[in-house]
C-alpha cells in the first residue's frame, strides 16, 4: 500500500513539473485523439443525420448495422488497418504504419460508428418534433439535415465528447497500428499498459491521472454547457 501512495505522490510531482517524456506522451495523445474525434464527427454526424431523416430501402438494416458496429472489437479494427497499411497491403505505399496518422485512422474508424449511431438517435428525436414544421416551410432534405444538426448541436456536442472519450481510451487498435514506439507513437493508454508491465508505476499513474482528469473535464464541460443552454434557451 505504501508503494502505491509513494507512486501516487511521485505521479503528482511529474504532473506538476511537466516531465518531458510524460508531457510528450500527453501531447501526442491529445493530438491524435482530437484529430480522430474531429474526423469521426465530420463523417459520423452527417451520416447519422442522413439516416435519421432519410427514407430509403434498407434503412432499418442500416440502423441495425450502425448499432451493431458500436460493439466493434477494437483489435479487429486495428488488425484491418494494419493489413491495409502494412507494406504488402493496398495502402502500404503510404508508409504510415507505426506513425501517428495510422493511429488517427484506426481511432477514427472506431469512433465513427459511435458518433453515427448516437447522432442518428438524437437527430431522429429532433426530426419527430420538426418534421411537419420544416415540411410546411418547404425545407428540402439536405437543408433539413443541416438545420437539425445545428438545432441539436448541444446534444451532438455530448456525442462528440463521447467520441473523444472513446478515442482517448483506445488501447488495442492503437497498439497494433502504432506499435507503441517510444517518442513516436506512444500515447497515454499504451504507455500506461507498458509502464505497468515494466513496474514503472509513477509514470503509469501520472498518465492515468491525466487521462481521468481529461475525461472528467470533458464531461463537466458538457454538463455545464447543457445547463447554461437550458437556462438561456429553454
Amino acid at each position: 500500500m505504501a508503494d502505491i501512495f509513494a507512486s501516487f505522490a511521485l505521479a503528482l510531482r511529474m504532473v506538476a513539473e511537466g516531465d518531458p517524456e510524460f508531457a510528450g506522451i500527453v501531447a501526442l495523445s491529445l493530438t491524435v485523439s482530437l484529430a480522430s474525434a474531429a474526423l469521426a464527427c465530420a463523417v459520423g454526424l452527417p451520416l447519422g443525420a442522413a439516416v435519421a431523416v432519410g427514407s430509403f430501402p434498407g434503412r432499418r438494416a442500416v440502423i441495425v448495422l450502425m448499432n451493431a458496429l458500436l460493439g466493434l472489437p477494437s483489435v479487429v479494427v486495428g488488425l484491418l488497418v494494419y493489413l491495409l497499411l502494412s507494406r504488402a497491403g493496398p495502402l502500404g505505399d503510404l508508409g504510415i504504419l507505426f506513425t501517428p496518422p495510422a493511429i488517427v485512422i484506426a481511432q477514427t474508424l472506431l469512433v465513427i460508428p459511435m458518433v453515427a449511431a448516437l447522432s442518428r438517435q438524437t437527430v431522429e428525436d429532433a426530426w419527430q418534433e420538426y418534421r411537419e414544421q420544416l415540411t410546411s416551410l418547404n425545407v428540402r432534405t439536405t437543408r433539413a439535415i443541416a438545420t437539425l444538426l445545428w438545432d441539436a448541436r448541444l446534444s451532438l456536442f455530448t456525442v462528440a465528447l463521447a467520441g473523444l472519450g472513446r478515442a482517448f481510451s483506445e488501447v488495442g487498435a492503437v497498439m497494433i497500428v502504432g506499435g507503441n514506439v517510444d517518442g513516436v507513437t506512444r500515447v497515454m493508454t499504451t504507455a500506461i499498459a507498458l509502464k505497468t508491465a515494466e513496474g514503472e508505476l509513477p509514470l503509469a499513474l501520472a498518465l492515468g491521472i491525466v487521462l481521468l482528469t481529461i475525461v472528467l473535464a470533458l464531461n463537466a464541460a458538457a454538463y455545464l454547457l447543457r445547463e447554461w443552454s437550458a437556462r438561456r434557451h429553454g
Binding site: 420538426y130 411537419e132 445545428w150 438545432d151 438561456r232
Partner: protein, 240 residues
C-alpha cells in the same frame, strides 16, 4: 431586386378526399371549393377530422383517394403557409426564425432582413426580435409563428387551433393578427373549437363530423339556421 411572390392558386377544389391514418379512415369523400378572399373556419366535434383535413390540404399527410385541383398552373408550395397549434421554433432568435423561413423560400439578403423585421413589427413583436424564440411565452410564440407564416406572403394560410392554449388577451392578439393578414389579401382556412372565435372571424363554415363534410355554409346562416341536424346538435352542445 425583390423576389417574385407566389402565384395565385385559388380557387382550390377538393374532390372526394380520403385520408387514412393507420387502419382508420379519418376523412371520407370530402369535396368542397375554396374561393379567394374568404375566411373559412372548419368546425366539428373532437375527432371529426378537422386537423387531418387541414394537414391534407397543406400536403403534410398523403391522400388515400381524391384530388386537390389548384387554379392556374397547379400547386405552388410557396403560396401556402401553416400555423400549427403547437408551432415549432428553431433554436435561434425570433428574427432568425423568420429569416430562416424566408431563406429556404429563396428570399435573399437585405430583402430577407427587411421582410422579417416588417413581419415582427406588424405582429407587435419587434421588441422581441433578438430574444431566443424558445423562451417566448405561448402567446408570443403563436404570434411569432403567425409572423413567420405571414412573412412568406402566402396566398392561403392554414391555422390549426391557433388560440387553443392561449389566455384571453393572447387569443385576442392572435385574432387581430389573423384579421390583418386577411385584410392584406391572404385566404384564411382555420380550425377551432371556439365558437365565439368562429363567429367573429368566419365568412364560411366547413362543418365536418366523423370524417365527412356535412355542410359548407356562409357563417351567418350556419350560426342562425344550420342546414344539417348534426350541425344543429353541435351548436347546441349535444355533440361531444
Amino acid at each position: 431586386m425583390a423576389s417574385a411572390g407566389p402565384r395565385e392558386v385559388l380557387p382550390l377544389e377538393a374532390r372526394g378526399l380520403r385520408v387514412r391514418l393507420g387502419e382508420r379512415e379519418v376523412l371520407r369523400d370530402v369535396s368542397f371549393r375554396l374561393e379567394p378572399g374568404l375566411r373559412t373556419v372548419i368546425l366539428g366535434p373532437n375527432g371529426a377530422g378537422k386537423t387531418s383535413l387541414l394537414r391534407a390540404l397543406h400536403g403534410l399527410i398523403p391522400l388515400a383517394g381524391g384530388a386537390l385541383a389548384w387554379a392556374g398552373a397547379g400547386r405552388d408550395r410557396r403560396a401556402e403557409a401553416m400555423v400549427f397549434q403547437h408551432p415549432v421554433m428553431l433554436r435561434r432568435s425570433a428574427l432568425a426564425n423568420i429569416e430562416y423561413a424566408l431563406a429556404v423560400n429563396g428570399v435573399k439578403g437585405a430583402e430577407r432582413r427587411s421582410r422579417a423585421r416588417d413581419a415582427l413589427e406588424r405582429t407587435g413583436l419587434a421588441g422581441l426580435a433578438e430574444r431566443h424564440a424558445r423562451v417566448l411565452s405561448g402567446g408570443e410564440r403563436q404570434r411569432l409563428a403567425i409572423a413567420r407564416a405571414w412573412a412568406l406572403r402566402p396566398r392561403i394560410l392554414y391555422l390549426d387551433e391557433p388560440t387553443a392554449s392561449l389566455d384571453p388577451s393572447a387569443s385576442a392578439a392572435v385574432e387581430q393578427e389573423i384579421a390583418r393578414i386577411h385584410a392584406a389579401g391572404t385566404r384564411i382556412v382555420m380550425t377551432t373549437h371556439r365558437l365565439g372565435l368562429a363567429r367573429r372571424i368566419a365568412d364560411e363554415i366547413l362543418f365536418i363530423d366523423g370524417g365527412k363534410l356535412v355542410e359548407q355554409t356562409p357563417a351567418d346562416r350556419f350560426f342562425e339556421a344550420p342546414r344539417s341536424e348534426e350541425a344543429r346538435q353541435f351548436l347546441n352542445g349535444e355533440l361531444p
